[in-house]
């Protein structure tokens, strides 16, 4: 069975060309990733600004195209799909965006964001059916249709608006949901409910989730597997328990150590390695070399491949060059299966 969504050696370069005034920026550099069809799980794509995670999300959504490389949905190249195949792709891959206010057209009530796709994709045969499905989706995320429908976006809280977005995603019964920083603009006390509904989308409805974020803590809490990006390349990937609890790539280690723990007893130590990177993409070798505390000569000359350190982890670092290279760069091979919901998360 072909994977649900597959990126093969995808590179995305911005700028450059004949009339360019600035050097071209490589947002994604030869990244391969696949989402399997049979085991819907939650995968985090983590990285800071400039990592390429937003570009990756846009390419997966089909909103942007790769400069080189291919994107396959259910075995079909997205750039060569027929009209009806495209429509199917459109429906089955849905986003949840970061900004809970800008995602709504201020002219319409919040119903609009639910009924528009419902009508376009013919979720029901008539208005009554559509309404029933909409209400069902709202209930599933813990919202009351009576308190939500008929209201304007500014009359709901940020948390509620975001939950409506989750309901919208659920409504279309997609196969994949790309959640791009869904809680970063939401108050801390309201985040848990949203994350919970996203989690249930996967565990109860079998939808694969791609959780794109810079916040490793929530990524750890919600995901099964994680891909850490650094300046357009995969630094480390694997099961979230491995990568977060025992990071192997120096960049991941730096990230984890820099997270401020909400525990006054466990204070920040000194930072290994340097802070801002001064390079702009033209250098050879490993992209992290100028900041790496373990840098070796080989790091500046060659780009490390993905070494499979354990069953559920790869890292692109020469420290682990004794481990075998991952065949086909298919990161999905090191993903751990999702742990089923042991206890129900509702009260």
């Amino acid at each position: 069975m072909p994977p649900l969504l597959e990126l093969r050696k995808v590179t995305k370069v911005f700028g450059g060309g004949y009339f360019a005034t600035r050097p071209p920026l490589t947002a994604l550099d030869n990244v391969s990733l696949s989402i399997p069809e049979d085991r819907p799980s939650i995968t985090a794509i983590a990285g800071e600004s400039g990592s390429g995670k937003t570009t990756l999300a846009r390419i997966m959504l089909g909103v942007a195209g790769p400069t080189s490389g291919h994107v396959f949905y259910r075995g079909k190249d997205v750039s060569r799909m027929t009209g009806s195949e495209r429509r199917r792709f459109r429906r089955e891959v849905q986003p949840i965006f970061q900004d809970p206010f800008e995602s709504y057209n201020p002219f319409y009530k919040v119903d609009h964001v639910l009924t528009t796709p419902a009508r376009n994709f013919k979720i029901g045969r008539n208005r009554r059916e559509i309404l029933a499905r909409v209400e069902e989706a709202l209930h599933a995320v813990g919202l009351q249709p009576g308190e939500t429908l008929g209201r304007f976006p500014h009359q709901l809280s940020g948390g509620q608006r975001q939950r409506v977005m989750v309901a919208r995603a659920l409504l279309l019964r997609p196969r994949i949901i790309l959640a791009d920083e869904p809680v970063s603009m939401v108050d801390a006390s309201l985040r848990a409910t949203i994350l919970d509904s996203v989690y249930k989308l996967n565990r109860e409805h079998g939808i694969s989730i791609l959780y794109i974020t810079h916040d490793l803590t929530t990524a750890y809490q919600i995901s099964d597997n994680i891909v850490v990006l650094y300046r357009g390349s995969v630094a480390e990937a694997g099961s979230v328990e491995h990568v977060i609890k025992q990071p192997k790539h120096p960049y991941t280690q730096l990230l984890i150590q820099s997270i401020p723990r909400p525990n006054p007893e466990h204070l920040w130590g000194e930072i290994p390695g340097r802070g801002d990177s001064q390079h702009n993409g033209a250098e050879a070798g490993c992209k992290f070399a100028d900041r790496c505390p373990h840098v070796m000569t080989i790091c500046r000359d060659q780009i490390p491949g993905l070494h499979k350190i354990e069953e559920h982890r790869v890292a692109s670092c020469f420290m682990y060059r004794d481990s075998p290279l991952l065949a086909d760069d298919d990161i999905a091979k090191v993903f751990a299966p999702p742990v089923p919901m042991a206890t129900p998360t509702t009260r």
């Binding site: 959504l61 909103v63 429509r87 459109r90 429906r91 849905q94 986003p95 965006f97 900004d99 206010f101 800008e102 995602s103 709504y104 057209n105 201020p106 002219f107 319409y108 964001v113 528009t116 796709p117 376009n120 994709f121 500014h154 809280s157 940020g158 108050d187």
Partner: protein
């Protein structure tokens, strides 16, 4: 929205003027607008409240007959100009690429050429003097350029809004996005632009008429001004002849400006988030 003094003020002025015209036409009648309808050079009397001009026109009748004509020119030019400008702006901004490049070039070049110059060329080339409706069309040909530019900028901004992206990902077609997602949010801006377009159209038409290129037989405000200049009414002290068109113009422009100002205030995102 009730708390929009400019909008209310402007509407009051404009509606007041319209009422004056409507009631006046019914009560007073407009036949006196033609020359030789009354004894010439009369200062205001009970019979002729606004007096008469050098060739015997009843000036009150002139204002009652002529103001609607001038407003009509403004409306024709405003509607057609804005309509054309809006369509081109949306097409350029939404589809981008070569279409955008072509439209933008025409617009940018058009903006550098003085509109009045083009109007004069058109008027001179038509031969016999322009009718009121022809004037409206002529001004429209020039009036679409500036709205096309400003509306295009606004559409470019709107195009990047997340909710437009979501609508696209929800399966809405290009035209659907233009009409259902973007247009409603631009309504106040479009209205403000419309009012501005009407205002400039009236001004442009008056400019043409004052130069003597307007419809000679019509008592439009601009023609009245032309006759004033032609007969040196200021030197003759005939204040009842040059004051009414100036006052009416003042009311029209201030009214339109206030309405545009009020609409501008409304279209500003003051209804922003309040988390």
């Amino acid at each position: 929205m009730r708390r929009n003094p400019p909008l209310i003020g402007g509407l009051v002025l404009l509606i007041g003027l319209l009422l004056f015209i409507v009631v006046g036409q019914i009560v007073y009648g407009t036949e006196g607008y033609r020359p030789l309808s009354a004894p010439p050079m009369q200062s205001p009397t009970y019979e002729y409240p606004f007096g008469t001009d050098k060739v015997g026109r009843d000036i009150l009748a002139v204002m009652l007959a002529g103001t609607p004509l001038t407003l009509r020119i403004g409306l024709i030019a405003g509607v057609i100009g804005l309509g054309l400008g809006t369509v081109l702006a949306f097409v350029a901004a939404y589809y981008g690429g070569l279409i955008d490049g072509a439209i933008r070039t025409v617009v940018d070049v058009g903006l550098t050429i003085p509109g009045l110059l083009i109007l004069i060329l058109i008027a001179v080339n038509v031969g016999s003097s322009l009718s009121v409706d022809q004037m409206g069309l002529a001004v429209a040909a020039v009036a679409w350029v500036y709205p096309a530019r400003t509306i295009r900028s606004q559409v470019l901004v709107l195009r990047e809004r997340p909710y437009v992206e979501i609508a696209r990902l929800s399966g809405t077609s290009g035209l659907g996005i233009i009409f259902k997602e973007m247009m409603p949010n631009l309504m106040p801006f479009l209205l403000a632009n419309f009012v501005g377009a009407v205002s400039s159209a009236i001004l442009a038409s008056i400019g043409l008429e004052a130069l003597g290129l307007g419809p000679f037989d019509s008592p439009t405000i601009g023609m009245t001004i032309y006759w004033n200049i032609h007969s040196t009414s200021i030197l003759l002290g005939m204040w009842w002849w040059f004051m009414p068109p100036i006052v009416v113009l003042g009311v029209v422009f201030v009214g339109l400006f206030l309405v545009a100002s009020g609409l501008d205030e409304w279209s500003n995102p003051r209804l922003r988030k309040r988390t």
